[in-house]
């Protein structure tokens, strides 16, 4: 055991992402319930407001975005809790690389498991609402830029509420207000193309939020985890 192979920072990032993806594959039910919840919430709206197509077309983007927001809240509770309960989180904090990097890995994996399926499902649901192709395209692009932000901002809430009673509800209470800008720009983009304007400014603002989140949230989440582990 004299010369052990050291892993690089990037190697560790890949390790965490792969580990979380493997775990998600072995607990497929969790991933599926989030997706089914998303589909169900979206499908409930026409039942609630009536099947009038012109109204549904107008509501579509908002409904899909709000549903995506809610279903990502559902899966956030699990982001750190399993690792917290079985002691893996302790070991992550003792990793010889920065905790922010590991946290970023967990965020990426979380998005691939809970955000990406929503993005892929959105076109089908958009058709339920008779969305025109162009609006649908912008919606998907917006979701693609916005759902990672939800995972990243949500991770801060997940870290702060780690191990608390009623953590799930509390988590939503903390995170939802912080996600409002994503909702506004995401739905605004669709509305812009529907009224014949360009969605570029909305989408670039979403992109800016994504960059901001990428820069700051891993570090903030790492600090939150340290506070919660005390």
């Amino acid at each position: 055991m004299t010369d052990m192979k050291r892993s690089s920072m990037l190697g560790l990032l890949v390790l965490v992402i792969r580990r979380d993806l493997v775990l998600a594959m072995r607990r497929r039910a969790d991933v599926l319930t989030t997706l089914i919840f998303f589909v169900m919430v979206v499908s409930l709206f026409p039942l609630g407001v009536g099947p009038e197509m012109s109204m549904l077309r107008k509501m579509a983007a908002g409904v899909l975005w709000v549903a995506a927001l809610l279903s990502s809240m559902l899966s956030l509770g699990r982001l750190f809790s399993a690792d917290y309960l079985d002691g893996t989180l302790e070991q992550m904090m003792l990793a010889p690389q920065s905790l922010s990097m590991l946290v970023l890995g967990k965020m990426v994996a979380h998005w691939m498991v809970s955000g990406l399926p929503l993005v892929l499902m959105a076109p089908v649901l958009g058709l339920q609402f008779d969305m025109p192709a162009q609006a649908l395209g912008v919606l998907i692009l917006g979701l693609l830029l916005g759902t990672p932000v939800l995972s990243m901002v949500g991770a801060i809430g997940a870290a702060l509420t780690l191990g608390l009673r009623g953590g799930g509800v509390l988590l939503s209470l903390l995170v939802l207000p912080l996600c409002i800008p994503v909702l506004i720009f995401g739905t605004g983009a669709v509305e812009a193309v529907s009224t014949g304007l360009s969605a570029a400014s909305h989408l670039s603002l979403l992109g800016a939020l994504l960059v901001l989140a990428l820069v700051f949230t891993p570090w903030v989440t790492a600090q939150a985890l340290r506070i919660s582990m005390e």
Binding site: I156, L164, L173, L174, P177, G188, L205, V220, S228
Partner: protein, 245 residues
């Protein structure tokens, strides 16, 4: 002569200091409230366009201003507590939150009261009202997180981090809501600011000062009770005249 400010950053000394300061803020607050409300509701002239209804702004505007500033001050104390690990700063942040939430709530309520006669609806998705609502949510999140953590140190530190994240987010939220509002061409609260009567300005200023003084007095009182609760097992608390009775 240098004053040792750090002396007052210890809960022990601050407890006594706060107790002495409270009347100096509470009494002027009460007086200014009385004067401000009198000028606002009896002296200030009727507005040409809005009639008597506009008078609610003497409560609405100061509460809105206070709710926003208090959030920033709360986040500031939270940051101090997190960086320098000073217990008193964290206690201050905790003490400010309920008052800030109260002002946000009053601002929403008075906004609704004003909206009914002006717009014919209790609630209009105006940019400022919407931002105020989100601000109330942020306050509630802070209070809820602090309340759900049993260990006071973790509670202080976790909610401090949330307050800082929230304060970074406030400008983004405000900007996005404004953007959303102009896109949907919603209504905006506009007062006839160009021809604001002197009495109106006086009333507004006095009410704002009264709100500040009230907020300081209440926060000091709340900090005192937080100190009592946190330090209940220490010697100095048990030697206080209040505790001996």
């Amino acid at each position: 002569m240098a004053i040792n400010w750090f002396k007052y950053s210890a809960p022990t000394t601050f407890y006594g200091l706060a107790g002495k300061l409270i009347p100096w803020f509470a009494i002027p607050a009460a007086v200014l409230f009385a004067v401000g409300l009198y000028i606002g509701f009896a002296v200030a002239p009727v507005d040409a366009q809005q009639g008597e209804f506009y008078r609610i702004i003497f409560i609405h505007v100061p509460s809105s201003i206070l709710s926003m500033f208090l959030y920033l001050i709360m986040a500031g104390y939270a940051a101090l507590g997190l960086i320098f690990n000073t217990r008193l700063s964290a206690m201050m942040a905790t003490a400010i939150a309920p008052t800030g939430a109260l002002f946000a709530f009053i601002s929403l309520w008075t906004g609704a009261l004003w909206g009914k006669p002006m717009w014919g609806a209790w609630w209009v998705w105006d940019a400022r009202l919407t931002s105020e609502l989100i601000l109330l949510f942020l306050y509630l999140g802070f209070i809820a997180l602090h309340a759900s953590i049993d260990d006071p140190r973790r509670a202080d530190r976790a909610s401090a981090l949330l307050a800082i994240v929230g304060s970074v987010n406030v400008p983004i939220i405000y900007f996005s809501v404004k953007w959303w509002n102009t896109l949907h061409q919603g209504s905006t609260i506009k007062f006839t600011g160009t021809s604001m009567h002197v009495a109106m300005q006086q009333a507004m200023f006095i009410m704002l000062a009264a709100c500040w003084l009230y907020a300081i007095a209440v926060v000091l009182a709340r900090v005192r009770s937080i100190i009592l609760e946190r330090e209940r097992n220490t010697v100095w608390i048990n030697e206080l005249p209040e505790a001996k009775q």
